[in-house]
Amino acid sequence: MRDVYDAIIIGSGHNGLTLGAYLARCGLDVVVLERRHEEGGGLCTEELTQPGFLHNVHANYHTFVDLAPPQGDLDLAGHGLEYVRPEVQMASIFDDGTALTVHTDLDKTCASIARFSEQDAETFRRLYTEAHGYVNLLLGTLMYQPPMSMKELTRALSVFGVEERSEFLSVKLRRETIDTFLDQHFTHPKVKAHLAFHGAVCGYANDVPGLAMSFPLLVGKIDNWNLCVGGSHRLAHVLWRDLAQHGGVLISDAEVSRIAVEDGRAVGVVLADGTELTARRLVASTVDVEQTFRQLLPQEAVPAELATAVETDLLHQPWSLFSVHLAMSEPPRYEAASFDPDVDRAWVVNLGYASTEELDADWRTVRSGALPGTCRPNAAVNTLFDPTDAPEGHYTGLLRQVAPYALADGGPAAWDEMGHWYGRRCIEAWQRFAPNLGDGAILDWVPYTPADIPRKLRNMVQGDWMMGEVSLANMLDRRPLPGLAQYRTPVDGLYMAGSTQHPHGFITFAPAYNALQVIADDLGLEAWWRDV
């Protein structure tokens, strides 16, 4: 193994691979180090149930396709990456047998909403049209740039008079919840429930103050949910391919135990097996803040104030996800199809939330460490859109339910006892809406609990799949901590480039892309990539 590189990147999730690929294309000699046996981090696709059934263990929904700059810059399609954008993107199915569907065709979405409220359908059309117009501008401003402060953003909104020109953007959104936004603009509880559900699947809880600021952006890409053909891991694979084609190296089973620091500068890493690797120009960590600053760095290299902040100020999502992965012999046939046949063609399905109040109650319950009284998971059958993920004539299924990481009664370890019990409850909830999914249709299933998340992916601390709370207090130039928000660290040559950074987790590529801008500035690299 070579032992000297220009750039050493810790972690091969999509951010680590993306940063590595860009830097390799800049001509740097790059190595990406991965603790696990394969690259990808949250982009892992495994045969969890039976052979031939490919389950996306973590990342399933890719909503930044054709929006994230790396996809074009790194020619991911040219490397074989393929997406499917289901025509019926989402559905909410309600206990009374009615349903609402979101389509790639705006007219069809509005027609579905109009069955509940014509006024809401018209409001949605205006909101979508407005938001779709500025989605690229907002992405360029809010996501694919190192973060500004909320004060700077709101001042600019004011100077440009955006509030006067927009029906939906407003400075006051920075203090409001998504619930408030929905109450101001929409009337029907089910319409509001569906839009809030959509935000929740994106990681934005509808009762958290300040998240209304992001809501128009979420709506602007509400019809851009894409499935990675062959499984989400395929994205990791093509990123690796681009890295390798430009001379970069990926080493798996290479756990970093220490970042070497000399005279206040990161100069390399030491692997768990004692191997020492030297970094001529930079080390970038895409793992969590706790590991980076409490375990990997020598403590004398971490300023006391930062060490204290890492100890006390980091904010993690106070909710996690409980998943059930299923192997099935048939897809769900929903009773609500008699109301709206398109529900059987929908990808992401909300099973039962019919009001924002129901969602709010579950957020409160989950944050207290308890399980919601009624299971209302969301369901997805990827095989409907990518038949390659299951044996012919068979289907994979995914159920996800918001849940606490640490159960009030027993902590995270209690999940080991409860996983199968709770998985069964989630399946029963699905069967209530799709009675054909009797036990004969379900060949096998496995629970994947909040406690399993950090066991597999250590950087998702406390089952925090967004790698940091999505909230006003942990947003923009305050994420993950004010002193780390611009991707630089107090240790020269050490950068943070993972989902702990602005904007957040999800397959956005943005933390790596933004860290790249900072690294390019610091190292004087020529920026060959296209402007946002």
């Binding site: 407005e130 779709h132 117009g133 501008l137 600019a156 100077v159 008079g161 006067e164 020109r165 946002v532």
Partner: protein, 178 residues
């Protein structure tokens, strides 16, 4: 009065920009490069239907030092080193109508009709200066057009959109501007 995109017109815009700098509370420090790409759309007579006109401008401490129209196919990096800080691109008709004061430039940026690329932090942090640039482009310089209107026979889509907003229950401020 000059034709739009003519040397005389751009000189007048530049003078208007520079005259406005003294009125600003803050101006951006340092140098940055702005690119404007005006794409032919078959309506504007100033740009070939399938062609484009590209302009570069250097701003230094808020002052427009120079502007330049590039020849077809000319590499912009023959004139500037490093990256373009902002790049505006859109249909010629929309740029024409912005210059005529018929279409609001922030509106069309919000609609995505004109794309804005580049360092958005710089753009937002210097919002006041950018607003003054837009003001100079929009209202400061007259053209040969009669009554401030481009010489098109029919209202274009962008103008129809802008005018349509006046009857769509938009806030009064927006309607007044449109």
């Amino acid at each position: 009065m000059p034709d739009i995109y003519s040397t005389e017109w751009y000189d007048a815009v530049r003078e208007a920009i520079n005259a406005g700098v003294g009125q600003l509370r803050s101006v951006p420090e340092g140098r940055f490069i702005v690119a404007v790409e005006v794409a032919g759309d078959g309506t504007s007579p100033y740009v070939d239907e399938d062609g484009e006109r590209r302009f570069l401008m250097e701003i230094d401490d808020g002052i427009c030092l120079w502007y330049r129209e590039l020849d077809a196919g000319e590499d912009e990096h023959g004139h500037v080193e490093g990256r373009i800080d902002y790049r505006f691109r859109g249909p010629a008709t929309v740029f024409d109508e912005i210059a005529a004061g018929l279409v609001d430039p922030v509106d069309v940026a919000l609609r995505g009709t004109i794309s804005v690329r580049g360092d958005m932090r710089l753009l937002l942090r210097n919002a006041e200066h950018v607003a003054s640039l837009l003001e100079a482009y929009t209202n400061a310089v007259s053209t040969t057009w009669p009554l401030g209107r481009p010489p098109y026979a029919e209202p274009t889509e962008s103008r129809q959109m802008a005018e349509g907003r006046q009857t769509a229950g938009e806030p009064e401020g927006a309607a007044a501007r449109a």
